[in-house]
């Protein structure tokens, strides 16, 4: 327990975090690339074609759609947790984490919406339907954009961090409320007449799981990269950043 606390506090040091993530990143990228290649191979070539409703190849969209939809929500929760850590324990690095997650999370949300509606056209015959899931995903995108917009409208970074963290926390309280409201609302008016999702053919399962893992890793890698940039940006004045910058430029000269 004490060890865990020390670890937690060490992570709070920008320098430590920067060095550690620097060590981890190559491995994460390597794993991401391998899984992506395998997963994309499976999903684009080796997976069966869905014959129901004449979707044919459009089912392949699922391998991007489902992971990105799942990530979009996980990312928001992660962002809110980082926000709480930042506000409660006054750990500045946590704010850098929220700031790094937001755009990646928003991109995932957008991807889920985009792949969803591209998939919707051939299967349901419409780009958009006010279905509970789709709608709450749209609102999630608005929440992300609100966070990003709020952060960007401050010139003082520490104010921006604190204010947008409050927003992230308020948002996460509301996500379940939004989800259940929307679900209730739509089923009141009309049932799920469009398609029944559910029982997934095992033939789809393996590639889907690989893609899920790949997308998770990709997400982590992207966030860590942004986080490192953010840490450098926020600690421009400190000595270790200067040393690091000199070190890299010296290395650059040699090669």
């Amino acid at each position: 327990m004490a060890k865990a606390w020390r670890w937690f506090h060490q992570l709070g040091s920008p320098k430590f975090l920067f060095q550690k993530t620097g060590q981890w990143l190559p491995w994460i990228w390597a794993a991401t690339l391998i899984l992506l290649v395998v997963g994309l191979y499976y999903s684009l070539w080796a997976s069966p074609i869905e014959v129901r409703q004449g979707q044919k190849h459009s089912v392949r969209i699922m391998y991007i759609h489902v992971p990105s939809a799942a990530l979009s929500m996980v990312a928001y929760i992660a962002m809110a947790i980082a926000a709480i850590v930042g506000l409660v324990w006054k750990m500045k690095v946590a704010f850098a984490v929220t700031r790094s997650i937001a755009p990646v999370g928003a991109a995932m949300t957008f991807l889920a919406l985009f792949t969803g509606s591209v998939w919707g056209k051939p299967t349901w015959g419409t780009w958009w339907e006010w279905d509970a899931r789709m709608t709450s995903e749209l609102l999630l995108l608005f929440l992300y954009l609100g966070f990003i917009a709020l952060h960007a409208s401050f010139s003082d970074r520490s104010k921006a961090d604190k204010a947008s963290s409050i927003l992230a926390i308020v948002g996460v309280i509301n996500i379940p409320i939004i989800y259940f409201s929307v679900k209730w609302w739509n089923t009141l008016h009309q049932g799920y007449s469009i398609t029944e999702k559910g029982a997934l053919n095992p033939a789809f399962q393996t590639p889907l799981f690989i893609m899920l893992a790949a997308m998770y890793l990709l997400f982590i890698a992207l966030v860590l990269m942004r986080l490192r940039a953010e840490i450098i940006l926020r600690n421009q004045k400190s000595r270790w950043v200067a040393e690091w910058a000199l070190g890299t430029s010296a290395k650059g000269d040699k090669s």
Partner: protein
Amino acid sequence: MSQTSDIQFNGLYAHELTVSRSEQVLLEDAELHLAPSTITYLHGENGAGKTTLMRCLAGLLPADHGEVYWNKLPITHPESNYFQDLIFLAHSLSMKNELSIAENLSFYASLRTKVSLNKQQLQQQISSVLNELGIGGLEDRMFAELSAGQQHKVALARLMLEPAKIWILDEPFVNLDHKTRGWLSEKALAFKQQGGTVLFTSHHHIEELPIDQSVGVEHE
């Protein structure tokens, strides 16, 4: 960490205060003591950090590090009555354009829980302060329809209407004519004699106001 027991100073005491703005450290590990019955003059060039320090002492700006004590208690301590005792006048005048002078002033006065005047007494007091300031009779004029100096006078009138033990005044002499500068100096001296603590900035030398302590803020 608020080591309450350590501080032996009455009045306002800032301990190891570090303040930064725009990622630039303005003050590092500064100690500052404003004792009761003293007038402190804070000076420094434009952009040196006077306003920033004042906002920090008033508890409006969080310090990066260090603590501010009022009568031996940290100002954020639940039992501290710092905010009851403080009047902070900033560059912005905190008055509503849509309200009349009297309405603006009585609003702030009635926010002070210690004030137990009835309405009429308060109106009378307001009138008499405005009279002293040479804007008597304008009680019902909208704040927006005053000249720059008149607006400033209204903000200063608060000092006379609200009970306090410490005044933090950011450039209180700006835009004032000679007569009013004299008035303010006089009032500050009287406040000091009653045990009050005053901290003020000014870019001009105010001959009427003898100061007890002079603190400089410097930009590196």
